[in-house]
Amino acid sequence: MSLPRHATRRHLAMLAVLGIVAFGLRPAPARAAETSVAVAADFTVPAKRLVAAFEQKTGDKLALSFGASGQILAQITQGAPYAVFLSADAERPRKLAAMGLAVPGSVFTYAVGRLALWSAQPSLIDSQGKVLQTGRFAHLAIANPQSAPYGAAAVQALKALGVYDAVAPKLVTGENVAQAYQFTASGNAELGFVALSEVLQDKSGSAWVVPQTLYQPIMQDAALLKAGKDDPAARAFLAYLQTPEARAIIRGYGYGTTP
């Protein structure tokens, strides 16, 4: 703002040259029509594995995008070019179908998420989750209960245990369940409600698998979106998710599958 005028102009010219060079170096798109799949953050690792297995089988190319389910929904309503949406809940794919943005009848449950209380410290969490009652911690991380299904499930579990009011001042909220996990893994929060799948990948620390009676089952639904209506690779991937092979991979990451 207070730079001498000639300096500013020279800098701008330099930036322009850099921009042109970078544009030239930019790799050409590998394929004209890559099928784009939006995935809820909790399902990141299994999704990568499933896509790798699918690509090997079919030769189709899928591009994965990750985010909070709420964020992805907001993007889809604004015309994001995703062909397939793997949500962390059942409500958002339903909402998309109602809005005409998902193909009617394409919605199905691909995984049932499970909630775990986890700490990076080896002995902080007991096998009954009593640590929530004793309250010997400064911060408890959860995903945003308004936009992330695992956050809503965590709040339900805390209420069912009758400790919600006691721990509410200690709650810190991650944008999605992956950030709640990261708050806990970095030790800034001593413990956090995360996806069981995240705990199974990193067996350090201590964990309590929250009984499924304490929260509404986290039905994670997939949908074929309007942008993928005529995309055979998108349809094939959704069909693949329902094969016994894919369901075994999904269960291997700590998720349930519906019969």
């Binding site: 703002m1 207070s2 730079l3 909070a68 709420g70 964020q71 929904l73 907001a74 309503t77 400064a138 911060h139 991380a141 945003n144 308004q146 936009s147 709650l171 810190v172 909220t173 991650g174 944008e175 708050f183 970095s186 030790g187 800034n188 929060a189 001593e190």
Partner: protein, 221 residues
């Protein structure tokens, strides 16, 4: 939401006050110093301009956390971490807004040149006195610009807060986070109202800064 507006203003105000205390002496050192370290230090201070806020937030999360280098100090104060706290956000804001304070003040000091400072010292003014009664008034324009830009930048800080704050109402849930949550949960009318308010406020701040600079330039000419 209602708590977020005073909280955001408090964060911006406190950060700007700290930046004045820290940034003005730093800018003076940079403007007067000679040697390779001057540009090296200047580059470090300018880093937050180009680094993504996620990088800054990530570093701060580790630095201020229970395994970071500050952990023994935190333990002395009976704290587990500075993440998820207002104090943590103040530290983060000072780091992120430092270039917005230092750059204009440094330019102002450089524009004054060495003559007034040397004249004051020749007239037997103590260095501190010369700095406060000669240099600071002459650099007033740059200091005001730096303070306004720092304040405005802190008001709009998002990435660092998202990485470090933990979204605690009344403590770390600032306006930019409220807007983000509103967008994510499809509360778009609320998000739109807050976003419009911030856009209007930022426009006024930038306009005021530009007008102040134009006036200073006219006075100098």
């Amino acid at each position: 939401m209602p708590a977020a507006i005073p909280l955001t203003l408090e964060l911006a105000g406190l950060s700007t006050a700290l930046l004045l205390l820290l940034g003005v002496p730093l800018a003076w050192g940079l403007a007067r110093g000679r040697g390779w370290w001057v540009e090296a230090l200047g580059a470090v201070i300018a880093l937050p301009l180009v680094l993504p806020p996620t990088v800054l937030g990530f570093y701060l999360l580790i630095l201020l956390g229970p395994h970071g280098p500050l952990a023994p100090l935190l333990a002395l104060a009976g704290l587990h971490t500075l993440a998820f706290s207002f104090a943590g956000l103040v530290i983060g804001s000072v780091v992120c807004s430092l270039p917005f304070m230092v750059q204009p003040v440094r330019s102002a000091f450089a524009a004054i040149g060495p003559a007034p400072w040397e004249a004051a010292l020749t007239l037997r003014a103590a260095p501190w006195d010369a700095f406060v009664s000669v240099i600071l008034p002459l650099a007033r324009g740059g200091i005001v610009t730096g303070a306004i830009l720092s304040f405005a930048h802190t008001l709009g800080e998002f990435g660092m807060v998202l990485m470090l704050g933990g979204d605690i109402p009344g403590k770390t849930e600032v306006l930019s986070i409220v807007i983000f949550n509103d967008v994510e949960t499809l509360r778009w009318p609320e998000a739109g109202a807050l976003a419009a308010g911030m856009a209007a406020f930022s426009f006024c701040v930038i306009l005021a800064t530009l007008r102040a600079e134009a006036r200073m330039a006219r006075l100098r000419a």
